[in-house]
Amino acid sequence: MAGDLRRWLPPVLLLLAWEVAGRLDLVASGALPALSEILSRLWQDRADYPAHVSATLAASGLGFVIGNALAVLAGLIFVLSPVTERLARGVNIAIFTLPPIAIAPILTLTLDGMTPRIVLAALGVYFVTMQATVTGLTQYDSRAADVVRAYGGGRGAVLRLVRVRGAVPAILSGFRVAAPNAVLGAILAEFGGGGRFGLGAYLLGSLGRGEPDRLWGIGLAATLIAGLSYAVFAVISRRMLGASLSLSLNPAGPEAEAGGRMSPLIGLGAVAMPFVLWWVILWVMRVPEMLGKTPWGVFDYLFLAEGAPVARERLLAALAETLPITLAGMAAGLAFAFGLAVAGRLTPTFTRVFLPVAIVTQTMPLVALTPLLVLLLGRGTAVTLWITISVTFFPAYVMIAQGIAQVPRAALELPRAYGASGWRELRLVTLPASLPWLFAAMRLTAPRALLGVMIAEWLATGRGLGNLLNQSRGYLDFGMIWTVAVVSVMLSVALYLAALWIERLVMTRKGIGAME
């Protein structure tokens, strides 16, 4: 009973505080309505929801299926042929890091109907599932494989009898993590497109009307869908495996392989591949030259064409606004997460209460969060900074706290057993144990930080790359739309690679292998 009370008390208190603050308009003069107000507004708007929800569900569902099918197939191919995996690494990293909002306008301009939403949802799930498939197929029981080989079974037999079925748990957990990404992707595409239905369209339409309770309602609905999609797969995998699964999100980025020296030729191919693919897709789909810029078209726009200097100037000005705030927000979010997770070792109760909250925020689509933060914080730079911080902070906190939780209790307590103080123990065990997770979190959240900044700029502040993209979309300035998309993808990849580089540098110096 006492345990139950301890578990339920914090959330109940939180809800109560929310209700009071909302009723009394305590936060930003009514930007945070009470939960009861939000729910009653949801009830009033109930006729609007079915059309929007089903549009978003249809697009994200279809994208989820297509993206996952491709991802499992790709994972299988990468495992069977390491050279292909290395060649595709550039494409994989680009897909993992690309801010969906950056390519949403391109997709809505070149494709029609539901297709852009489906594509963006599929792109959102591809990487997670592909990675999970590769991991699942790679980490198989070598002893069971030996049995198959001992009866003359070859690679095919081992794959069929041991590895494929053994990868199912990993793939299912990939689905689970990927499901909210599909919802996020679909909603982002709705932002960029002109469709009438979909939660993203609804949200965008309601943004200007200054009705916090409706915006919160839409955000709640989006979160609920994403959270439910996560939960559905959590239940399926638990049913299928009968084993308890720990909650973890975006568990792996592209592998930080230590000894993976590529031959220069393959490395070159990996870099060239995304550009080749870009060219080929435009060509295969016969996109008109005016609409679909090739790599050469973008180069031309930026450096050779008549308006090139102006275009460059606008781009650089936007970058100068976007980049510093992305980095500052990331640094603050990571530092905050690290501090809190490490301090949590000294106050386990806090971790026990806060970790589940942090995990729940992971399923909240960023697009639903942004308008709410705009309501709370206004349209200044502060909102961008806070979005970046929250986008970085929560996943990093979850990763680091769960990383620390993986250290065996005995190891954590050993220094204490020899009379070490709390601080000394922190320095001897907890810090070294959590450092790898900090770097992994940095690598994985860098792309999300950029996405957060761009969404804020697009929706709220009217500055930076996000705004430039939104404006160019309004003026049908195709050169600039492509340029911003390409530059932000490249920026995202660069942030990711920089984080990876720092991670390796520190880890080799410390004698710890880079985290998987």
Partner: protein, 256 residues
Amino acid sequence: MTAPAGIALSGLSKTFTGRGKRIEALRDVTLTCPPGSFTALIGPSGCGKSTILRASLGLEPVDTGRVEIAGRPPAQATAAGLTGVAFQDAGLLPWRSVSRNIALPLEVLGRDVGSATGRIRDLITLVGLSGYEDALPGELSGGMRQRVAIARALVSEPRVLFLDEPFGALDQILRRQMNIELQRIWAETGATTLLVTHGIDEAVFLADRVAVMQANPGRIVEVIEIDLPRPREPSLFSAPHFHELCDRIAGVLHGG
């Protein structure tokens, strides 16, 4: 099927290099097991027993030396279904029931599983797991899993049987029972058997010959003939000559 199926290992050497360290797991190991014979391999842990077994099955490439099973290279012999094996770790597939785990070798060899149902049921009875046909490995104890592995080793009716400490996780009583069962199976099938064990009494009770190994580098230091008459009864465990042989092996093991 009645073609002589012996094991011939000649001059096997194997060095592992991992993270700067070199481990000479095998040096010039030569061992011949005539068709139908029972050989026990005994030695301290880490002396290369498992490596010999894996090399015999072609799972571990050797640096020098040659392996022949029934006069053929291991890859051919295993693919032809001449061999059966139970490794030190059971290595069961966690999603397969006991009977489907036992059927695995048949599937790999491309044989008909359906017609072997009766045989699989008999094997399950033999290893004392009746009633657990549909249990999953996760629901079994370590000893039970090992017995599944033994049943699996026998399912393909092998002419040559490799067993790597198959009774390691069993308690003493069950172990004795399984020793007696194994002797019976061996006598019935006439399969050439190579048993890796760390139990001296087990080796003497079962084998025609005991090959004693030592580590660093892993090598066979002596092969001791066991001239006890067959069939061997449980009462043998307390016979004076039995203990003499055990003492001799212990002497070689510890003598250096």
